[in-house]
């Protein structure tokens, strides 16, 4: 790929527990272009989240290489948004957003200013003084996105970030994420098990399948943005993806 920001080659991850060897990922190849919005879909247990955990450094691969072409010297080339927002309950919203900036050399005032800017970006400019428990589920996930964006990562990793939200909130946040993506030009690697979500968001959908998981199929979604919901081309893409997935699981 011309301008790859992430190049994953022959990645495998296995661990042993109680004498039983569990292979989660095997020989996975995946290249992601700078500025691309890639969505990974697949059944649960196929290793989607594990892949993100490897990239952010929460899990160690057993074999394979991950080459990153991010800005040199950047402390946080990637940032992860977890499925549950995982805000720190003892910090006010603004200080949650500023969390990743601590240790970056910025003063407290600079960190707060940056955090306020990010809160405005996710549409929560007024809620900086709240405690996390005072927020709704959707607001919490927005704060988590702001926290990830605050460290100015080259790549935003998102692990089923909207799956715990009601469908109304989810669609709102999907639109919001597309706007943020257009505004910041970040590379996004997004994991979901929701096909409609995948085709709505993605430039390219990567299907992980099998046990251990590997890349089973890739589908390019060439629908111009902003994408109207229930657009015929998106529905087509979703249909063919579903067919692909069920064919894959029938193979197993």
């Amino acid at each position: 790929m011309a301008d790859a920001i992430i190049d994953i080659r022959a990645l495998s991850l296995a661990y042993e527990r109680g004498g039983v060897r569990n292979v989660i990922l095997s020989n996975l190849d995946l290249t992601i272009a700078r500025g691309e919005f890639v969505v990974i879909v697949g059944e649960s247990g196929v290793g989607k989240s594990t892949l993100l955990r490897v990239l952010i450094g929460l899990a160690r691969p057993s074999a394979g290489k991950v080459r990153l072409d991010t800005r040199p010297g950047c402390r946080t080339p990637m940032a992860l948004v977890f499925q549950d927002a995982r805000l720190l309950p003892w910090r006010r919203v603004i200080d949650n957003v500023a969390f990743g900036l601590e240790g970056s050399g910025l003063s407290r005032a600079e960190r707060r200013a940056k955090a306020a800017e990010m809160l405005a970006l996710v549409g929560l400019a007024d809620l900086g003084g709240r405690w996390p428990h005072q927020l709704s589920g959707g607001q919490r996930q927005r704060v988590a996105i702001a926290r990830a964006l605050a460290v100015e990562p080259d790549v935003l990793l998102m692990d089923e970030p909207f799956s715990a939200l009601d469908s109304f909130t989810r669609e709102g946040l999907q639109d919001e994420l597309q706007r943020i993506k257009a505004q910041t030009g970040k590379t996004v690697l997004f994991v979901t098990h929701d096909i409609d979500e995948a085709v709505t968001l993605a430039d390219r959908v990567v299907v992980l399948a099998g046990s251990p998981g590997r890349v089973a199929a890739e589908v390019r979604i060439d629908v111009p943005r902003p994408r109207p919901r229930r657009d015929a081309a998106l529905l087509d893409a979703a249909r063919s993806l579903r067919a692909e997935l069920s064919r894959r699981s029938a193979d197993l």
Partner: protein, 250 residues
């Protein structure tokens, strides 16, 4: 039940208790030298204050209390954090803990006297031991119970050193549990104060021993109530502090 009603009932209960207490010696059911009626307590209190004994004893006990509490709680939090954070440290100390833990604070009195003499430092030592274990176990448990998911958040943002883990996640997340231990310690330390002073270090405990050997039971009661009042004061202040520190909780 409304707040007014429950307050009235509580006041009535206390009044009944005082009346019963007053009646027992007055009706000759108990020798007043063994149980002074409560009506004699204010006079005894004023006498102790005017002689300057009360303020001196209280100040002295308070200084033991605060020093012992700080030393015991400080060591308990520090070692509890280490033990909660590092499994090898926990294993290394496991049998030492088992060995020392069951020894009551009072059993240390002989060594306290030998090592420190009949000095305030001996009382501080006894109090510190009484407090240490409670705080140690509360801290260790609280650290161990911290949500792994939150530790991952720190790691995901590049905070991977033990110090960063401690200051950014473990300490704030464990604070509620540590505070519960500290509050228990606050009460435990008062008990230790009396015990530690009974062997002669000046303070409330010593004054109580003196008074009881002279059968001045009214003076003993003055100091019992003094300790109840001081404990109530400290506990209320602590609860207020706790509420402020944990204001982030729902």
């Amino acid at each position: 039940m409304s707040l007014v009603r429950s307050t009235l009932l509580a006041a009535a209960g206390l009044l009944a208790f005082l009346l019963f207490w007053e009646a027992m010696p007055r009706l000759g059911l108990i020798n007043p030298a063994f149980l002074p009626p409560p009506s004699t307590i204010p006079a005894a209190f004023l006498r102790e204050v005017s002689l300057g004994i009360w303020p001196e004893a209280v100040l002295s006990s308070l200084s033991h209390y605060v020093a012992g509490l700080l030393a015991g709680a400080g060591a308990g939090v520090g070692l509890g954090l280490l033990s909660g954070m590092f499994r090898p440290f926990e294993s290394f100390t496991a049998w030492i803990v088992r060995l020392l833990r069951p020894i009551p604070g009072l059993a240390w009195v002989p060594f306290a006297i030998i090592w420190f003499g009949v000095q305030p430092s001996a009382a501080v030592f006894i109090i510190a031991i009484g407090v240490f274990w409670i705080v140690f176990f509360a801290t260790q448990g609280a650290v161990r119970g911290v949500d792994r998911d939150l530790i991952e958040v720190a790691q995901a943002f590049g905070f991977r050193s033990p110090l960063a883990r401690l200051t950014k996640i473990l300490l704030p997340a464990a604070t509620p549990g540590i505070l519960v231990g500290l509050r228990t310690a606050l009460g435990q330390a008062w008990m230790a104060v009396v015990a530690a002073e009974i062997f002669g270090v000046p303070g409330v405990g010593q004054r109580m021993m003196q008074a009881s050997s002279l059968l001045s039971t009214d003076i003993v009661v003055v100091y019992m109530l003094t300790m109840a009042a001081l404990y109530g004061l400290f506990d209320s202040a602590f609860v207020a502090l706790q509420g402020w520190l944990l204001r982030w909780r729902a």
